[in-house]
Symmetry: C2
Subunit: 212 residues, 2 copies
């Protein structure tokens, strides 16, 4: 299915009530998020499904595709638009086999070989990083911007940059042929998630325009 990865919000509900969390997601959608990923590492399947259905209802109102992190079965059950798998999750090929050809399957690729493997297995897009250290993935190895650029050139699918990116440091990506930017904290921890999304969308669009 069609999707626009320009401003990709990866959520984090840690330490929040579901209501507060959903309110932040809704504000971010109002601000112009173009793609949404629900990432829940601690929830059991049933609880993850319950929350996914609620987020799906919000995303659907804004016509924003919702992907789930890791759990292909929960994504299927929730009627999500797809899944994002990391290097320790099920392979892209298995996610694709469960979800079928019409859903979005994205993958984390930190290197060119990982990018080629994910593409060959049927990934629709790649997330590459971490560009900067993050609070959500504390042990993450950083990916240099030169590697990000090599990944972009190695595969014919969209590549989004991820990892510690915010409105203040996006300039490191100038000239990189990315399709978008994925953020967690820059929106989820913003005082005003809508304003944060608006500013990020403006800046990412400018970045992308500059690379054409």
């Amino acid at each position: 299915m069609q999707f626009d990865p320009t401003l990709y919000l990866v959520t984090d509900s840690t330490g929040r009530t579901d209501e507060d969390f959903l309110a932040i997601v809704e504000r971010a959608c109002e601000g112009g998020v173009t793609l949404l990923q629900l990432r829940e590492k601690e929830r059991d399947g049933r609880d993850y499904l319950r929350l996914a259905k609620r987020v799906k209802a919000v995303a659907a109102r804004f016509h924003i595709p919702l992907l789930l992190d890791d759990r292909v079965d929960v994504a299927f059950a929730a009627g999500a638009d797809g899944v994002h798998v990391g290097q320790s999750d099920l392979p892209v090929s298995e996610a694709r086999r469960i979800l079928g050809p019409d859903k979005i399957v994205g993958a984390t690729a930190k290197t060119v070989p990982q990018a080629l493997e994910a593409f060959e297995q049927g990934a629709d897009y790649l997330g590459t990083g971490a560009i900067f250290p993050t609070t959500t993935h504390v042990k993450t190895v950083l990916t240099p911007v030169s590697t990000l650029c090599a990944v972009c050139r190695a595969v014919p699918i969209p590549v989004v940059a991820i990892g510690g990116l915010n409105a203040g440091n996006l300039s490191v990506l100038e000239g990189a042929p990315i399709a978008g930017v994925a953020v967690v904290s820059a929106i989820m921890k913003a005082d005003d998630p809508k304003a944060a999304a608006e500013e990020l969308l403006r800046k990412v669009r400018a970045l992308k325009a500059g690379t054409r």
Copy 2:
């Protein structure tokens, strides 16, 4: 698909190398285990899949169906014979929708209402307990044998008793119309898993014969 729940081994690989774990599973299969569940709460999807494929190869040699705990997507990817879902996992109906009508979907039901719900959603069997305290589920609420009997009578599908059961305490189940007994430690922690499975199989068969 057809299955015999008489002696249902639920595995626990904690603290073991994969090789040691697989050797125990193989010995247990030799001893007469009739149904096998791989339960891995700590592994990531890809690692769970890798181990599941190895266990599947062992189980297939003995023509013993292999179910996976919780992860319906990993069960699908591994070509397992089905899945077992607890009350905090995906609902039976969703597991059934992903795996299709031919795979085995089992569910934990601690009460008659839970049993009826799981049956109505398409469960092929129920696991009911814990009959005794267990080391694998430390916070589990115990299910009295009278409730186990009520569950057996409430649904037309096989019900297996689970929770701290071993060759020395099976007699508490005398007269209960169970289809089988599920064990973890009684086999996984036995000095001789094959001999333990043989003794358990003999005793469970005697139990079932006595209830006819």
